[in-house]
Structures are given as C-alpha cells and as structure tokens.
C-alpha cells in the first residue's frame, strides 16, 4: 500500500475498494467460526481482547471498590478525634493496602486493561499480537491480586506504607510475613504489567489499519505507546528494589542497613525512580481518554494534535527527571534538589499544552453536555487544581513545610482521582456502547457524576487546609485540641458521597451493562474513530484503509464498506486467527500474522505463577518450587503451537495485495517483542549498576571494604571468554540454520546449542567462584551483597537461557525448526547475545572499577 493508492482511494470512494461484493458464500461463517470464543468450562481459556479486556477492566474496577471500602473505614476512623474504631495495627494496614491497591491493582491495570480492550478496536486489528500473553497477564493479576487483598482479613497485610521504606520494612523492624506479601505480591504483579506493556508497544506499532500512519494515529494510541514505553523504563527499578529488599529480609544481605554499608536512601532512589513516572503512567492514558472524548462531544477534530503528541512525549521523558522531589526532606545537597525542582517545573508544561488543546477544541466545536462530557469537565476542574498545587510542592522550601501532610494527600488525590478516575468514568460511559448491547443510562449518569464530583471536592478540598495547619499523613488518630476536627468530619462526609456515587454507578451497570452479546447500539455519540465500526468477535469484518485521523467523519460509507467485506482480509484465509502486521511509521501492510487461540496452559501458567510467588511469601518453599516448575512447563506448552511456520505461502488480503503469512528476522513482531523485553532487562541491569555506584558513594574510600581482596584478573578474563564463546557458538548455529532452508533440522545446530550451554554456565560458575574463593560473603557488607546480586541476576538469565536452549533443541527434534521457521531460534539467539553483553559489562564494573578508584 503506498501513499498514491491512498489518494486514489480518497478521490473515488465508490470504486477500487480492495475487495468486491458480494463476498463468497461461507466466508463470514468461517470468520465467525475461527473467532468464536470457547464455551462451557473452556470459556475461561478465552483470549480475545474483547473478552480479556472486559474481564481485566472489571477486575481492576473491583479493586477500586475494595480499596475504596478501605478508605471509607479510614475516613470513619478519622471523622472524630481520638476515635477507637480501629487500632493502629489495622489502620496502618488499611492505608498501606489502600495506596498499594489503588496504585498497583487498580490504576495501572485499569488503564492497561482499557488499552487491551480499546487498542485493537481503534486500530482495526483483529486482536493484539500476543493474545495469550494478555490472557496470562490478566489471570496472573486476577489470582495474585485477590490473594494479596485477602491478606488483610488475616491481619497479614503489609503495614509499611505503599512506599515501603526500609529500615522500617526490613527484617529487624518488620518481622512476620506482612512485608513479604507486599514485596512478592507486588513484584509479581509488576511482571504482569510489563508483559502487558510489551504487548501494547508491539500492538500499537505493528498492528494498525493500513494507512493509519503515525500522524493519523488516534491520540489514545499515542498515549498507550508512551505509557507502555514508560513502564519498560520505570518498572524494572521497583522490581529491583523489591528484589533487593526481599534478599535483605530473607537472607540478611544488607543493602539498606546503615551499619553494614547499606543505605535506606538507595531504596528511596529506586522506588521513586519508578514512583514518580508511575503517576504519569497512570495519567497519560487517562489524558488519552480525554483527547478522544472531547473531539466527539464537541464534534470537531482535536486542535493542535501535533502539540499534544509533543506534550505526551515530553511528559514521558520529563517525568523520569523528578524522582528526587519525593526526597526533598532527606537532607540531600541543595543544588541537587534544585535540578529536580527545575525538572518538576518542566513537566508541568506538557500538561498545560494538553489543557489548552482541550479548551481550544471545545471552542472549535459545540459541546453536548452528556455524561462523558460532564466527567471530562469534572476532570479539567480537578486536574488543573491538582496541577497547580503540584507546582507548589515542586518548590523546595514550600515542600519542606507540606511534605507528608494532608496537603500532599489532597494534592495527589486531585491529580490521581481528578486526573485518572474522572476520565475513567467518562471512558466507561463513552465506550460501554461498544462492549454492551445497551448504553448506560444518561439520567443515572448525571447523578453519578454529581455525587462523585461534589463528594470528591467535599472530601479532598478541606485536606489542603488540614495539611497547611499541620496534620501529618498516616496517623490513625489525632488529639482533639489542634483544630483539625471539623475539617476531618467534612472530609469524611465527602468520602461517603463518593461512595454513594460509585454505588449508583454499579446500579447503572447492573441495569444496563450487557457484554458479550455481539449486539451493539452502534455509534451513539457519532464519534470519528475506528472503534465505532460495526464489529463482532473478529472485530471488523474487513480491515479498512485509513486516510484520516477521524475516518468515520471523513471517509464516507466506511462502516458499510467495512461491514460488507469490501476492505482487506474479509475472511480467514489461513483457516485460523490472523491480523495484518503493518510497518511502524507508515502502517504499510507487511505480512499476515497467524495468532493462537484459546489455551488451557496459558491460564494454568498464570495460576501456577501466582501460586509460586504466594507460596514463597508464606514460606511454603517446596510447594512453591513445584508450582514454579509447573508454570514453566505450562508456558512451554502454550508456546509450543505459537510458531506455526509458513502454513500457507502467501495470503491474498484483497486489492491484489499478497502478503506472506510468516516472517522472521528484524521485521517480525516477535523480534520486536524480544527487543522490548531486552530493553526491560537492560533497564533492570542499569538500575542495579546504579545501585552498585550509589553504594560506593555511601562507602567512600572503602570500596571494597578493608578486609576484602579482589579476585585476580584471571577470573573475570576466563569468565568473559566463556560467555563470549557461548555467544559465538550461537552465532555459528544461526549461520548453519540459515543455510538449511526447508529440509528439516541439522545436527550441527543442535550440537552448537548443546555446546553453548556449558560454556555459558561455566562463565557464570567462574564468575561466582572467583568472588567466593576470596572469602567475600553477601551478608557481611553491602559491597558483597551487591556484587553477588549482579552475579545472581546473571544467573537468572543463565537459567532462563538453559530452558530456552533445550526448548529450541526440542523443537528442532520435533521437526519444527529450520532455516525458514526459526522465530523460536531467533528469540533464543537475541536473548543469548544480550546475556553475554550484560555479563561482560557486569564483569568489567565489578573487577575494574574498584581497581580504578583504588
């Protein structure tokens, strides 16, 4: 598809559509059969994004309600001074769980889930490129999240605050498994979030409607792309932090213990390097909702589309430059604080751009004040207010005063509730007609909005004042004589109004929400984007060519032509699920990807993964290990049929366009996903190396500490040589494989994989033993702890690659690997080379840096 074709297309909409009508008999029935969700017990193995997306959003909303109930208990406790409704132990669990669940189990999953549901619709793809991965991410989150939540019923919920600062949360001051629930539970849910992010990046970049080039991409897809990119760079920091703290708790490796060369501030750096972008990770998709809803309710395209893209990109970067503004009161050097104060100011500009773009769009059109519009206006009101108080707390001297007070509680609820929950409700009212046979009630919707909006401001506006007159956060009680009583009572009343609004919304859902019926009230708001095309389980009957940002407004007759099958891929030519993969910038069709369908192993893998982490939490080590092994086995089972090879030579998608049905190498979606995964790994490793250098600055002049001898340079040299030669073997194998086209596997490839494995494992062993023989032990000093962690992370890769190597050999033995059908091999190869690179960097840092400074 070239640009010229598109122009012809626009000039003569009635002619030259890719496919002619009437369509062959049975084509639609075949498409329906292929995409039919499983029935009976197998129903839970469903992988369609329209189903998983709805389950996912529903579960996230369930956690919103659960965490909201916890908030109501807290507000009841604080309604009057010196209340003894709940004691300090329960209260501390309540606020820890409220924050943790809202951030990790509601906000991030909710926006990610909306992406899983909406993105294929907006891009007219039949599904996201890795449907089973979405299903896995959902089930892992569902099972893990519910078990995590139920810890509060047993008094085992974490109580260290959602930020979990050590040393309070380490073994000395938090014995018991409460903190482990947080560390393992959340660490694991973050992995699920990363799986979703990889899916979304590849989905947005590679499965779009032909012609939906970057400049025609719906703003929402832009926000999700940047959202997912931010997850890739932010989440590894907190995964590392949780891993380090768990190592400290379980094995006394002293990363955060000051007496043993650790530093509590290391945790704060790692946590907030994740934690501040996290706020924008939540906000950007919500801003994306707003940028989609405003043009529709105003019936005019978004003004300054390009500047909004600029704003999103700038937010994505700038938000990584302000983590220290959560540490203004820790006593860091003034000048360092000033840098971050500057970055905190910079990040508010993109928000300003978006706000004015929305105002300009409203001015360009004529707003219809329906429920989505009301929630969007409510969002503007609250978010602007929250943004302004945000600028205030970015001022270092002001922050010294209000930090950790109710002023900050008010500020971030204005930003998060205002910035994310209002848009989410707008999105529910706006997009439910695409998922349900009936839209929600406009009449009830106004009441829902009124209650939530007034309740929210009643609850949170007074908190600005409560904080300014000195009430700190996270207190379960307060004395009566400090003048905080009335304000707290007002806040409590407001909280219950919000609850009433949410309750009314549930009533509306029960009365009107009828999903999975394949019936739809149609384009009820007269929106311009592709998710409003008529659709079934297979999404749209045919995949349209897009020539505008609002195709439904600008391309006449589009819904009818799409529904009649006049556009691309109106059937299921490979006999299975498939969608078109397009190029990342211009959205030129490149190939047809065959996608896997429902699968039990995917669901079981998720359940076993959750069981593995929870088993570790409650110290049932052996059952946990068994579950872990089962999870790995299930993942392999599920992957076994996902590299189908070229089952058909080429697929005719219409318009004379014949696309390959199987592609390997750098343009395949699988390669892209692996590259993103490597970016995740690289970020994790970079934050680990940052931790190494940070701990060095905590121990200036004693790195390594006095009694420790560095291993002689022979050790790293041998280890490096072994790593490099293992990669060399893989490289050779790749060359051999290339020469074998379709004549089955070749022994040399298997042999090289078999040789590469001991080389790699040997490298690790030399690396590890080199340190061990000097007498260095991880539990004595932070130096040893961080050195063994670098080696340990390398060890994880070695284990993963061992599994991958034998899996690849197994596929070769099964006749599923050759010069053409080599996606599995390519994945192993990319990961292998990354492992080697990481190993070499690790060796260089650990062995050369101390010599350099010593």
């Amino acid at each position: 598809m070239t640009q010229t074709d598109n122009r012809t297309e626009r000039a003569a909409p009635d002619r030259e559509l890719p496919n002619s009508t009437p369509r062959p008999e049975g084509e639609l029935e075949e498409l329906e059969r292929v995409w039919k969700p499983p029935s009976g017990w197998n129903y839970i193995t469903v992988v369609n994004n329209t189903y998983i997306g709805v389950f996912y959003v529903g579960t996230a909303f369930l956690f919103f309600i659960l965490a909201g109930v916890l908030a109501l208990i807290m507000r009841t406790q604080l309604a009057v001074p010196e209340n003894d409704l709940v004691g300090e132990d329960l209260y501390n669990q309540l606020f820890t769980m409220h924050g943790t669940i809202m951030m990790f189990l509601f906000a991030v999953p909710a926006v990610e889930a909306m992406g899983v549901y909406l993105l294929p619709n907006m891009q007219a793809a039949r599904d996201l490129p890795f449907p089973r991965l979405s299903a896995y991410a959902f089930w892992a989150y569902f099972v893990g999240g519910l078990v995590f939540f139920s810890s509060i019923f047993f008094g085992l919920a974490p109580k260290g605050g959602w930020f979990m600062y050590p040393p309070l949360t380490s073994y000395e001051f938090s014995p018991g498994i409460n903190a482990d629930f947080w560390l393992l539970g959340i660490g694991f849910i973050e992995i699920s979030a990363i799986a979703g992010a990889i899916e979304i990046i590849v989905g947005v970049l590679r499965t779009r409607a032909p012609g939906q080039s970057l400049d025609k991409l719906p703003i929402y897809a832009w926000t999700m792309l940047i959202f997912a990119g931010m997850i890739v760079f932010a989440f590894p920091a907190v995964i590392l932090a949780t891993a380090l703290l768990e190592l400290e708790r379980a094995f006394q490796w002293p990363f955060f213990v000051a007496e043993k060369g650790g530093s509590p501030l290391l945790w704060q750096h790692l946590f907030w390097f994740f934690g501040h972008p996290e706020v924008y990770i939540i906000f950007l998709p919500a801003a994306g909702f707003v940028s989609m809803i405003i043009p529709t309710v105003a019936q005019t395209p978004l003004v300054a589309y390009r500047l909004v893209v600029v704003a999103l990109l700038a937010t994505g970067f700038f938000s990584f430059g302000l983590w220290v503004h959560h540490m203004f009161t820790t006593g860091l050097p003034q000048l360092s604080l000033s840098f971050f104060s500057a970055a905190s100011m910079a990040v508010s500009i993109p928000s300003g751009i978006q706000v004015f773009a929305w105002i300009a769009t409203l001015a360009a059109g004529r707003i219809r004040l329906n429920t989505p519009a009301l929630f969007v206006l409510g969002f503007l009101f609250t978010f602007v207010l929250g943004g302004l108080t945000g600028v205030m707390v970015a001022m270092v001297p002001f922050d010294w005063q209000v930090h950790d007070t109710y002023f900050v509680v008010a500020h971030f609820h204005y930003v998060l509730f205002g910035g994310m929950v209002f848009p989410l409700f707008a999105a529910f009212y706006y997009w439910i007609p695409t998922a349900s046979a009936r839209p929600l009630s406009e009449r009830l919707g106004r009441w829902v909005f009124g209650l939530i909006f007034i309740g929210f401001n009643t609850a949170f506006f007074p908190m600005h004042i409560t904080g300014l007159i000195g009430m700190p956060r996270r207190v379960y009680t307060y004395p009566a004589e400090l003048g905080w009583n009335t304000l707290n009572m007002i806040s409590t009343v407001g909280a219950f109004m919000i609850a009433a609004g949410v309750l009314l919304f549930l009533v509306d859902l029960i009365r009107n929400f009828r999903p999975f019926t394949n019936k739809s009230p149609g384009n009820v708001w007269n929106a311009g984007t592709l998710e409003w095309l008529p659709s079934g389980n297979y999404q749209t009957r045919s995949i349209p060519i897009v020539t505008s940002r609002e195709p439904l407004w600008d391309q006449p007759n589009l819904p009818e032509d799409v529904e009649a099958g006049r556009y691309f891929l109106p059937g299921a030519p490979t006999g299975g699920r498939e969608t078109i993969v397009t190029s990342p910038i211009n959205a030129t069709p490149q190939y047809v990807v065959q996608m896997p369908g429902p699968s039990w192993p995917t669901v079981l893998a998720a359940v076993f993964t959750a069981a593995f982490f929870l088993g570790l939490t409650v110290k049932l080590v052996i059952p946990a290990v068994i579950c872990g092994l089962l999870a790995i086995a299930m993942v392999m089972l599920w992957l076994w049929d996902t590299d189908p090879g070229p089952t058909v030579d080429q697929v005719d998608i219409g318009g004379g366009l014949r696309l390959p049905a199987y592609v390997t190498g750098p343009s395949s979606h699988s390669w892209w996903a692996m590259v993103v995964l490597i970016l995740v790994g690289g970020t994790l490793f970079t934050t680990l190396i940052f931790s190494y250098f940070f701990l060095w600055t905590v121990n200036p002049g004693a790195w390594p500490p006095g009694s420790v001898e560095l291993p002689s340079l022979g050790w790293p040299a041998v280890a490096a040589a072994l790593y490099a030669s293992s990669s060399g073997a893989i490289w050779l194998a790749s060359g051999f494989l290339k020469r074998r086209k379709r004549n089955g596997p070749w022994w040399s490839v298997r042999l090289l994989l078999l040789v590469a494995f001991p080389l790699m494992a040997g490298g690790l062993a030399v690396d590890l033993f080199g340190q061990w023989q000097t007498g260095l032990r991880p539990e004595e000093h932070s130096y040893g702890a961080v050195v063994y962690t670098v080696i340990g992370v390398q060890g994880l890769y070695v284990v993963a690659l061992t599994l991958m190597a034998f899996y690849t050999i197994a596929r070769s033995l099964a006749g599923m690997l050759d010069g053409v059908r080599r996606v599995t091999f390519d994945n192993t190869m990319l990961f292998w080379h990354y492992m080697t690179a990481q190993g070499l960097v690790g060796l260089a840092v650990i062995h050369f840096f101390p010599r350099l400074i010593g």
Partner: protein, 124 residues
C-alpha cells in the same frame, strides 16, 4: 516489499532534544553528588568552583546541542530525514518543539548553580 522506514533512527532523532535533556540531568546530578561525597566541590579553577564551572559549561554545551537539533529540524534538512512524505514531515515540527522545550528545561536545570550552594544540606 516493505520499504525500510528506519524507525529506530527516526524516533531517536525525533526525541533527540529530550535525550539531550536526560543526559544533562544525569550528568549534573551525578557530578554534584560525587563532588559533595568526595569533597572536591571546593576545588577551584580561575577563581570559580570547579564543580560549578563544569556544570555551567556542560549546560552551555547541552543548550548548544538543543539549538542544533532545533535548527536542523526547522530547516527540514535531508540529513534529519524529515523531507518527503507527509507522514515524515509530521515529525519535523515535533522534533523542533521538543528540542525547544528541552532547551528551556536544560536552562532551568543549569541556572541554580549561579545561586544555590553546591553541597549544603537541606534545612540549615
């Protein structure tokens, strides 16, 4: 069949301004942290604190780089790869605006060296 879009190169170019900003923040923060930890913030060169001087110079270099990106993007040079098709022309103004915003952010990050002492702790 699929023409080469040089996706990675183009995205890196489009966000070049932001990448320069990130590098600047990382450098000045790292340098100041080390200077205060290892107590070389007091070293002087030409009567100015070495630390302050370095941060100042690096800020100027970063600003120069931002302006370079900005001017190339505005000029729409072939070297930046934004000529030609509609989809790619879309990236030019984005590149320029991002470089402009980043320049402001770099400037804001650089200015406090003139006012705020390097190593005194908060409070005080």
């Amino acid at each position: 069949m699929p023409m080469r879009e040089r996706f990675v190169t183009r995205i890196l170019l489009m966000t070049a301004g932001l990448i320069i900003w990130a590098a600047h923040l990382g450098f000045v923060y790292g340098l100041n942290a080390l200077a205060c930890t290892f107590d070389f913030a007091r070293l002087e060169l030409f009567g100015m604190a070495l630390n302050t001087l370095t941060i100042g110079v690096v800020t100027l270099i970063a600003l120069g780089a931002e302006l370079l990106v900005l001017s190339f993007a505005v000029a729409g040079r072939g070297a930046m790869g934004f000529g030609g098709e509609e989809q790619l022309r879309f990236m030019g103004p984005i590149t320029a605006t991002l470089a402009g915003l980043s320049a402001v952010a770099v400037l804001w990050q650089g200015l406090p060296v003139l006012v705020v002492p390097a190593c005194t702790g908060a409070g005080g």
